[in-house]
């Protein structure tokens, strides 16, 4: 899922400027699960903004609402009255949610309350780790199900480099060396031969490097919606 974390309150206050009526919009999907922008966090942020505005004598009226998914029109349409009543929208969705609001409500100013950080998972309660770089050309089939693009600091396809020690990456001892993990897993499964093959330069055009990406599936499109 998408992992995000809240921006510092100071930064949020700066983004809100002097706009009086603030609508904090939480999202009920990924950012709820990672405790960054669900209903609970939206309420906390709304209260924090309200309190700090008062302490600084900034007139402010703050409400909060949480939709099931900020990245789908139908859920955003459910709150269009509240959005129209607000001067500014503080989205606690990921970057996609913020943009969905901007696109659906062209006349409304929207600012992000979160930093969208990565695609990952919780490895224990309160700890999230990046797992996928969405490179568009999955290599997990040759690396034993461990992604070197997302998890090796240098995204090596022919690792390991010389910088791993005791299974940790040299740039951050809190991070496991992806290539050590790959090596150990292939070793356990008796497939180390896979590491002897030279992996050619990656085709990055399927990644962000190829420009913004789009998928179109005619089997799913509705004739009525085609332009």
């Amino acid at each position: 899922m998408i992992i995000a974390e809240q921006k510092p309150l100071d930064e949020i206050m700066g983004l809100l400027g002097s706009d009086e009526r603030v609508l904090v919009v939480g999202c009920g999907t990924c950012v709820t699960v990672c405790f960054a922008g669900g209903a609970r966090e939206a309420a906390i942020v709304a209260a924090s903004v309200r309190m700090t505005s008062k302490l600084n004598s900034v007139p402010r009226e703050v409400t909060d609402v949480t939709v099931q998914r900020q990245c789908e029109w139908e859920y955003l349409d459910e709150i269009k009255e509240q959005i129209s009543d607000a001067d500014i929208i503080l989205s606690l969705g990921c970057g996609i949610g913020v943009q969905a609001i901007a696109e659906r409500f062209p006349d409304k100013w929207v600012v992000p309350g979160l930093n969208t950080t990565f695609l990952g998972m919780p490895t224990e309660q309160g700890v999230w780790i990046e797992r996928c770089a969405a490179c568009g050309d999955c290599v997990l089939g040759i690396t034993g199900g461990i992604c070197p693009i997302a998890r090796c600091s240098k995204s090596l396809l022919n690792g390991p480099c010389g910088g791993s020690e005791d299974g940790h990456c040299e740039i951050n001892p809190d991070i496991d060396c992806a290539w050590q993990l790959i090596y150990d897993r292939l070793s356990r499964l008796g497939r180390l031969d896979a590491l002897l093959e030279l992996q050619p330069p990656k085709n990055w055009s399927t990644s962000r490097d190829g420009g913004p990406r789009k998928i179109t599936r005619d089997d799913l499109r509705l004739a009525a919606e085609e332009e």
Binding site: L9, A42, A47, M51, D64, T66
Partner: protein
């Protein structure tokens, strides 16, 4: 006392959450010391009274909550929870 809890590690988890709230208060612009956590057992009535008096006195020093009784400040939210 810390770690010596009927709910095993519950008091350690509680302390982390109290820390979160204290940091949040600081971010908002209020004094963190308005929220404090003390460890003690149910048999320590005297100690409890002492802590309560200490905290009350500290908060009295800080003065009343600057957010109280203000028309702009309400605790109501419209969350669907």
């Amino acid at each position: 006392m810390e770690g010596d809890c009927h709910y095993l590690l519950g008091n350690i988890n509680a302390r982390r959450r109290v820390e979160f709230v204290r940091n949040l208060l600081l971010e908002i612009g209020l004094e963190a010391s308005r929220v404090q956590m003390f460890n003690l057992s149910s048999a320590m009535g005297g100690q409890f009274a002492e802590y309560a008096a200490k905290l009350t006195e500290e908060i009295r020093q800080l003065g009343p909550n600057p957010l109280r009784k203000d028309p702009l400040y309400t605790t109501e939210t419209s969350t669907g929870e």
